[in-house]
Symmetry: C2
Subunit: 649 residues, 2 copies
């Protein structure tokens, strides 16, 4: 892909983008403000820029006069980059560029953690929990007439170094006939133990050499969505993946609703059946996409939160909901996948990720494992951001974890124009520090319908930096612009006027919206702070951050630090895991070593119930500000704010 360099004037900021990139997106990425209300749909006509050098496509509109066009004016939101460009933002050109550069750090999202099979192989850790071994046995003779099973065990030991082999009756019954039918040339499917001194269980004997066909499934059992992947255990490739809404959703949106439902009548069985239906639907789809046979799947690794896990296995989750919040178990034994209704062959083994507590479940542990946090010396903050937020701090030597109810703000809940991340959701935002005019980017570049979680963070951060709201989240009522107004008794900032939206109202952010976000981020920040304090550390000691959860990849890290959701560290030291649960499940499918490690990690993770930790409430109160009562903990922001305030005065 050809790359082009864009230089924005008067700022002087440069950014490299792919050929054909959208110019206003490029500006946003570079931290360059361009007034724009319509999300990039080209209807508001505000995003006028001058192409001083280079080639672009499109960018013209009825909103531009022929004279404008002749002078190089284009609408940035409609413009495609076709060469290196020099672009001037006209309305900004009166302002001192040093101020321009203060107001907006370039957009910075977290580096996505990628799974590296080669490293596993190099470390000799590419040992799937279920493996196939082919063997050609000498045939029995009068001088060598040991039992069929002993023959198999003995030669697997001699030829493949397999020790401590075991076999269940169901497999044993098939051995004599298969051996003879296959002329004593067979493939054994072997389930590895967690610890090396455990049994290596032979779960299947097949005629001939089938070692080339050995597949695993990794699956994330989410409250909302179930994702699955087919993995080729020979090549390490992901052959297919698919996600589907969890069929339990119609019985409750969140885990609490599901638990309440499960307590009545025979509803535990209903929910167990529903999740199985979804699991089997996902399985059927990925098996088809991967072009494999069902019986070739030897293992399925599943990760989910405690409630999803118990419902899947058929364990009453009642006590997860009731104080003192006790899960049935943290560890689950390996079992035949078909035992719980998973539509795989009888020999396929299900491995379920262990959890730590009722609210720090297998999905989080999978993230801790998938992220490599358990192997690093660096003090790490792991955050799964969502309504039910989980926090882990620590490193390879110790870990503390907790969960908090952040409320639904991060998912667009409790916010007047909040919405889930989808087409028309405002996902990025910038504000002019003198005119307070907005720059609005939506998912899909269409007129806005509402605000998603990552957009909300950015909006609040920019409003705060611009002085539109104070550190308590309250509006400056003296700016004298019509976008800041009291409406129905509540102060708000209008992000998009009705005619630039897809809805029949102005889209605004209100003080209660901001309050909700502050409470959500305050709960998470203070949760992490409390964990650290319990071990005598502070947020300043954090060396890296790992993000998980639905919108982690979209969060603008600088903005998340500006509002005090994340502690202020170098954004390059923030990683995003994607679907952490699926990542961990995938890792475990490739290296059995993880199963041993995970048991140690789970035992090492000290769980805190924040409500029972006296220091938490104090930390929480301190975190109910932008970014925090202790601005000293955010030195970068402090300096920027000081400069901004000085320039503006």
């Amino acid at each position: 892909m050809t790359r082009h360099k864009i230089t924005f004037l008067p700022h002087g900021r440069e950014i490299k983008v792919d050929d054909g990139a959208n110019l206003i997106r490029a500006a946003m990425e570079a931290g360059v403000h361009v007034n724009a209300s319509c999300g990039g749909e080209g209807v508001c006509g505000k995003c006028r820029v001058i192409i001083e050098q280079g080639e672009v496509d499109n960018g013209v509109s009825e909103r531009l006069s022929p004279e404008d066009i002749a002078n190089g004016y284009r609408l940035a939101c409609l413009t495609k980059v076709r060469s290196d460009l020099v672009v001037r933002i006209p309305v900004e050109s009166d302002v001192d560029s040093s101020v321009l550069n203060l107001q907006a750090a370039p957009r910075h999202t977290a580096r996505i953690k990628t799974f590296d099979l080669n490293t596993l192989k190099e470390q000799g850790l590419f040992i799937p929990p279920v493996e196939k071994k082919y063997i050609e046995l000498p045939k029995p003779t009068a001088q060598d007439n040991i039992s069929d099973v002993s023959r198999l065990f003995y030669h697997l030991k001699i030829e493949h170094g397999e020790h401590r082999l075991a076999m269940d009756l169901s497999v044993m019954r098939t051995v004599p006939d298969i051996l003879r039918r296959a002329d004593f040339k067979v493939t054994a499917t072997i389930v590895r133990p967690v610890r090396e001194d455990g049994k290596n269980q032979i779960v299947r004997i097949e005629p001939g050499d089938t070692t080339g066909r050995d597949f695993a499934v990794a699956m994330d059992i989410g409250t909302t969505t179930i994702y699955g992947e087919v993995l080729d255990l020979n090549s390490g490739e992901v052959l297919a993946s698919y996600g589907e809404f969890n069929g339990q959703i119609s019985y409750g949106e969140d885990v609490i609703a599901r638990i309440v439902f499960s307590e009545k009548n025979n509803n535990l069985a209903v929910l167990q059946k529903k999740v199985m239906e979804t699991i089997n639907k996902v399985l059927s789809k990925i098996i088809k996409r991967a072009k494999i046979q069902k019986h070739e799947i030897t293992t399925i690794t599943l990760a989910g939160n405690a409630t999803m896990t118990q419902l899947m296995i058929g364990i009453n989750p009642r006590h997860i909901r009731l104080a003192p919040y006790v899960p049935a178990s943290n560890f689950y034994p390996p079992f035949a996948a078909s035992d719980i209704g998973i539509d795989l062959a009888d020999h396929a083994i299900a491995l379920v990720y262990p959890g730590v507590s009722s609210y720090v479940g297998g999905d989080i542990v999978a993230g801790v494992m998938g992220s490599g946090m358990y192997r690093t010396e660096k003090l790490t903050l792991f955050m799964d951001i969502g309504t039910n937020a989980e926090i882990v701090v620590g490193n390879k030597d110790w870990m503390a974890c907790t969960a908090c109810s952040a409320g639904p703000a991060f998912e667009g809940g409790g916010v007047v124009f909040g919405m889930r991340a989808g087409k028309g959701a405002i996902e990025d935002f910038s504000i002019d520090f003198t005119t307070f005019e907005p720059m609005v980017m939506t998912i899909g570049n269409v007129r806005p319908k509402g605000i998603c979680g990552s957009g909300l963070i950015t909006i609040v951060a920019r409003l705060f930096e611009a002085g539109v709201i104070d550190n308590g989240g309250k509006f400056n009522q003296n700016l004298g612009i019509d976008r800041i107004r009291e409406h129905n008794g509540v102060w708000e900032y209008v992000i998009a006027w009705q005619d630039a939206t897809q809805i029949d109202r102005d889209i605004a952010i209100t003080e209660p919206d901001i309050d909700n976000l502050i409470r959500a981020k305050g709960a998470m920040y203070s949760g992490a702070q409390t964990l650290l304090e319990e071990v005598g550390l502070t947020m300043g000691d954090i060396e890296q951050i790992i993000l998980a959860g639905g919108f982690g990849s979209y969060v603008d890290l600088e903005k998340a630090m500006t509002i005090g959701l994340l502690p202020e560290i170098d954004p390059s030291r923030v990683t995003y895991l994607g679907n952490s649960s699926l990542l961990g499940a995938k890792m475990s499918s490739f290296t059995n070593r993880l199963r041993r490690d995970v048991a140690d990690v789970v035992r090492m993770m000290t769980n805190f119930e924040l409500a029972e930790t006296p220091s938490y409430m104090g930390h929480y109160m301190g975190a109910l500000f932008l970014p925090h009562t202790d601005l000293g903990a955010f030195p970068r922001l402090k300096k920027r704010l000081e400069l901004l305030r000085k320039v503006k005065r």
Copy 2:
């Protein structure tokens, strides 16, 4: 019970018997010959003895004149001993007592091995493979809200020293509710691993303390009969026992017939179902007799030969029958008893005794374990005498084993008047060395119907000692008595004339009968000899003998040595195990240590296929004599024979 001393004249032999004992039995036990043909029923009138001192009951009959009675004559077979006695055998009184004493060693059967629980307890080995532990758990609080399963595991570790605990899903599902219903006071049923580094599997959680109710079942799965015992794992008592014919019998008398039947159609399932019906019938009976509940049985230990084991588990036994005689497996994993149709609760674990080869199965291994042979330094000969005979030689350091088809002679087959041990079977025999008149004892003291295995051995031994047959088993045709005759072209000795029997013919033993017995004993003796020779030893090195199998307790050891079935050693060093298979199963029910030991023992046992061992045929040919071509290996007998021949000459 009052005991009385009887002194037999002219021999001077003494014996002590219980009050009320039968006098002719006492004579037989003492090795004193009294002519008697009718088995003790009182009809032949031959067993006239004179009571010189002491009190007796009965003993009078129409066969005695009033004068005889007045002179102290009684029929020994009808006489009950009531005090110390002096008894004269009139027909013997002419003979030199030194000769009398030569002809008949006192009857000597093997000491019966008894199970000694106290020794196990003293050695700290009273650890059943399934145990119950009661525990009162602290209830969860906000400060202590670990998972239910972790709570259970943790406190079982703290209070009972239980480590490496594991639990299946089916049990895990029950935990949260049972804990709370039982106010966190529960009993855990724990299945022990074979090796200490294995998992201790919790298979059941019950409310309250049920440790006082913990029972096991030991079962012998015989080709003919299935025996079961209920064991109290707290007291070590056998609470009930019962045996029942194996329901498979109608599909074939022996293992080969069963295998042949199983190969057709769906007959494996038919046989599996049949044996389960019998197992469940026995179970139901012993559970009722023991006055326990089915669910209180936590383990069932089963021992049987390879074919019975495979049929029970549902593994095709075809290759046991076909060269090179390969069983499916020697070891069987523990499994839920209900998995194969055993009518016990889901948590009851089935443990199946391992075998060594197709023809040295779990029943023999159980005997080796039950007998303690695997722990002794003494060079031991273990023999399970029957149609399919198994032989083990060795000690705690090494063992060699084999099986041979001895033919049915030991069970009364291939013998004209042969019969199984039952009422009317001749079980003991003596012969007058001058008149060659017999003394015949039957089971039930009734007129004879036939000859059982132990009777056959004694008859042949006595005929040989008396010179009626030579060391090739051929009759001395020159003795000039009518009991020795040629009948239908075959030489025979008439044991009982028709009028003294229950049948319409004379009962005799023929040369072909004797041939069959010689072949049977020859196969066994030479089998043992071959095993020993393979390790550079001889029969003379044997330090003890352990007998198992149906008639072992009845075999007169001196006679078995006289015919060369057993090597000549001090009879006090011969032990009889009773039902060795059941004994081993019982032992294993009380001490899990045996499961580890048995794996080592089985691996140590070198199996020989006699047909593939070149030296066997030579040994066999040498053993086709009474007692053997090498009379030097039987010095006691050699000396006795020399004296006898000298006296008679």
